[in-house]
Amino acid sequence: MKYIPLTENDKKEILAELGKKNTADLYKNIPSELILGKPLDIPNAMSEDELHEYFNALASKNTSTKDTLSFLGAGSYDHSIPSIVNHLSGRSEFYTSYTPYQPEISQGTLQALFEFQSMIAGLFSMDVANASMYDGAMAAAEAVLMAHRISKKTTVLLSEGIHPHVRETIKTYTRGLLELDTLPIHKDKGITDHTTLTKKLNDSVACVVVQYPNFFGSIEELEEIRKLTPHTLLVTVTLEPTSLGLLKGPGECGVDIACGEGMSLGIPLQFGGPYVGLFTAKEEYVRQMPGRLIGLTKDADSNRSFCITLSTREQHIRREKATSNICTNQSLCALRVAIYLATLGKQGLREVAQQNYDNAHYAYDRLTAIKGITTLFHNNAHFFNEFGIAIRKEKNELFSLLKQKRIFPGFICPELSTKDSTSLIVNVTEKHSKEKIDYLIETMKKVME
């Protein structure tokens, strides 16, 4: 076996030296009734050629965004990834290394993660960022738990503008510990209803959580919400961080804990993972943060160096008293994000955000001009690169026709659909050229009009 360098002869010699008849002699203290008498019933070994053939066949059963025209977003966004992201993150010194517990031989990972923290904190306009969480949903759940640790209060007000999967994950993580209450969406504006928010605020509220931009693409008015919640922790979830190339960072709006999903920043769709959870906070709360933090320090010669810091919050030191149970995180994905942000830079991320905004608004204008298609929120002037539309139901053959043409016009949202119309959340990015958007419009027009 090519992954096992010990030869049969090596093994024989070692066993003889150890005074053992065979390998089983080394584990004879395992109760005999637990020993497997026969080989495992798994397939025979495959060669590299066979593996490629096997997985090519499987890959061909999937639809990919490479051979379709997709406007699906809803938490997973198809953005351009510069070639250098794959090349640099594919250096095996990065991807075959362990968690950087030995800083002297991990400065590459450590400095890259320090830079990741710096750029994420900058993007979110927050004081500090950690070195990553599993994904945006889990990061949000941990943010809520952190708000509970800080406030010692137990009610959480969750906006209905938060991705349903994120809300479900928060529910899983807080069941039996915290009370979750929902803040409805203003039916006309597509953002969290401020009047209900004010009504629901009371002394037991640990935090208010909104998504920014929200699940329907609408831009929550964070500064307004901040004004309404002066004595409550404000938590935001950003699943589309390219928006922060254009929009104010949550920190600028006074948010206390801002988390999110970073896959938009250089990570491919991969059927939902691995992605990367982003986690930022005000500095005063840093000791309540979950996850790893990389800090600047110096070595014995006073040279600049980096290491994992504030570990006393973490499970390997603090065990049951740790701020979280997280150990392995999504380091390599964080590295990809760091490379992506360094590549795009100040101007590039701004341009990506502007193009997303422009393309989405162009598509919105043209789509809602089609007979039988209306906007989901009539008073919604502000969205980023996603928006909701309602499509009259009698034209439901539209979806099968689009599928035939390998067009996926958006995420069908059953919760918002009615007996007369199907609701769709449409995502448009910098990958959608004017020609692609026009093709979608013309195809839809033919059916609808």
Binding site: L34, L51, Y98, E104, A112
Partner: protein, 486 residues
């Protein structure tokens, strides 16, 4: 490489206004963003500006300061730093897999669902469990899922149990996961032989204990010989047994897990099944359970009806969703590739070679380093710094000295119950020549500890940076480059 020792500037220091490392399509669409209300827009994005070649050199230079499995031996105990096959990366990068949107729908994702389903079936065969979820994105998240399932199970039975029994040898994630699931933890000590004693478990078992979390082989590298008695005692008291599968690399094809009396177990694909550690993730932590716990598994579930695969997003008793989509799919692809590369003819050889290598090291170093538990080990062995301490040399000094020989140190100071532990897990991926080299270096260090202890105390010398001051990092907390400038 010389660049490894040169200080690499921060991106913020390399930044120069007006540079760019990207190209974007020229857009012919009108600039709608100019109409966006100024109350929403920011004036500046705090990101660096570099050209492409500068970004490439920066990260390439950083990579030379890193040590990976591809660089050399990585005998980190309980971390299973085995070789990460290159073909795994190529397979995961296939367009049909890497560019599949998680919400395209079942019909458009039959290939991905078949991959998940096939891996589920193989892992069930390997472990002997009847049910599994591949959703958890790391071992610790699987532990949390297991703990939440335990809670749901007892709530369903209307039994109030508040405590999880955790051996002192357990990984830190075990008690942390129990606490995150709102359980109290009760520590239980391992016996003189380095294993958990059934008689002690009996003393601790009450109707308040929901589950015992046990690692097998344990973190001393020893098989829990009394496992059958222990699981029976726990079950007799109505409790569940959770097994931390971090050390599964010792058991492949040798023993099945479920028949030990284990009710739930997680697997770390980034340990046993060769997916890269990536400098600390992403990993994946499949969770196996038996029949009676299957109704509580997190959603979504992947099933097969006839020849069609489907994604179940709602079940009556599920503990719920644990993340945005269906886990770290890209990691699952790599693990499946690995298992299929091994096949039935090789899978047992992995564990056997890992066990042989660990015992070989144990045998050869036992006169140079104190061996607290002398019996045959499984895939890892534990030494301490007891002999070296006589000359003021500690485990930390030994670890840092290994760096100067181009070897990654073993896991140190863990498990906590062994003072000055050096936990060595060579894995199946080292040649005899490499094992002999490691042994000779360790012997040399043991000799130096007597004759020239300062050599060890002042290590490392040859690394990109000298010994890093971790205390200073806490005292003067700097977590972003903005803090340096200000």
């Amino acid at each position: 490489m010389i660049t490894a020792k040169l200080q690499e500037p921060l991106l913020s220091e390399l930044s120069q206004a007006g540079k760019q490392a990207y190209t974007l399509r020229k857009s012919s669409i009108k600039e709608y963003h100019k109409n966006l209300d100024g109350k929403f827009t920011r004036t500046d994005v705090d990101l660096p500006e570099l050209s492409e070649v500068e970004v490439v050199r920066h990260f390439t230079r950083l990579s030379t300061k890193n040590y990976g499995v591809d660089t050399g031996m990585y005998p980190l105990g309980s971390c299973t730093m085995k070789y990460n096959p290159k073909i795994n990366e190529d397979i995961a990068a296939k367009e049909g897999l890497a560019y599949s949107h998680p919400l395209f729908g079942e019909e458009q994702a039959q290939g991905s669902l078949e991959i998940i389903y096939t891996l589920q079936e193989l892992l069930k065969t390997i472990t002997g469990f009847s049910h599994i979820t591949l959703n958890p994105m790391a071992g610790a998240q699987a532990e949390l899922a297991g703990i939440l399932i335990t809670r749901a199970y007892f709530e369903d039975k209307k039994e109030k149990r508040h405590t999880i029994l955790v051996p002192d040898l357990a990984h830190g994630t075990n008690p942390a996961s129990a606490a995150l699931g709102n359980f109290k933890t009760q520590e239980i000590k391992c016996g003189k032989q380095g294993i958990l004693e059934a008689s002690l478990v009996e003393q601790y078992m009450t109707n308040d204990i929901a589950a015992l979390m046990i690692t097998n082989p344990n973190t001393l590298g020893l098989f829990e010989e009394e496992i059958l008695k222990i699981t029976k005692i726990v079950h007799d008291h109505g409790g569940l047994v959770y097994m931390d599968g971090a050390n599964l690399n010792a058991l492949l094809g040798i023993t099945k897990i479920a028949p030990m009396g284990v009710d739930l177990m997680h697997i770390n694909l980034h340990k046993t099944f060769s997916t890269p550690h990536g400098g600390g993730g992403p990993g994946a932590g499949p969770l196996c359970v038996n029949e009676k716990l299957s109704p509580y598994l997190p959603i979504p579930l992947v099933t097969k009806n006839g020849t069609t695969y489907s994604l179940i997003t709602e079940t009556k008793k599920s503990i719920g969703r644990m993340g945005l989509f269906q886990g770290n799919f890209g990691i699952l692809v790599r693990a499946l590739t690995y298992i299929l590369s091994l096949g039935n003819e090789n899978i047992k050889k992995v564990s056997e070679a890992a066990i042989i290598a660990a015992n070989y090291i144990k045998e050869h170093l036992k006169n140079d380093y104190h061996l607290p538990y002398t019996k045959d080990c499984m895939h890892e062995c534990i030494f301490t710094d007891k002999f070296q301490k006589e000359n003021g040399v500690t485990t930390l000094n030994i670890a840092k000295s290994l760096l100067d020989y181009g070897i990654h140190p073993p896991t140190v100071y863990f498990p906590l119950v062994v003072s000055g532990a050096l936990m060595i897990e060579p894995t199946e991926c080292e040649s005899k020549r490499n094992l002999d080299h490691f042994i000779s270096v360790m012997k040399e260090l043991a000799a130096d500890a007597k004759t020239n202890p300062d050599k060890l105390k002042n290590a490392p010398r040859e690394t990109p940076v000298k010994r890093v001051d971790e205390v200073n990092a806490v005292k003067n907390l700097v977590l972003t480059w903005k803090k340096i400038i200000s």
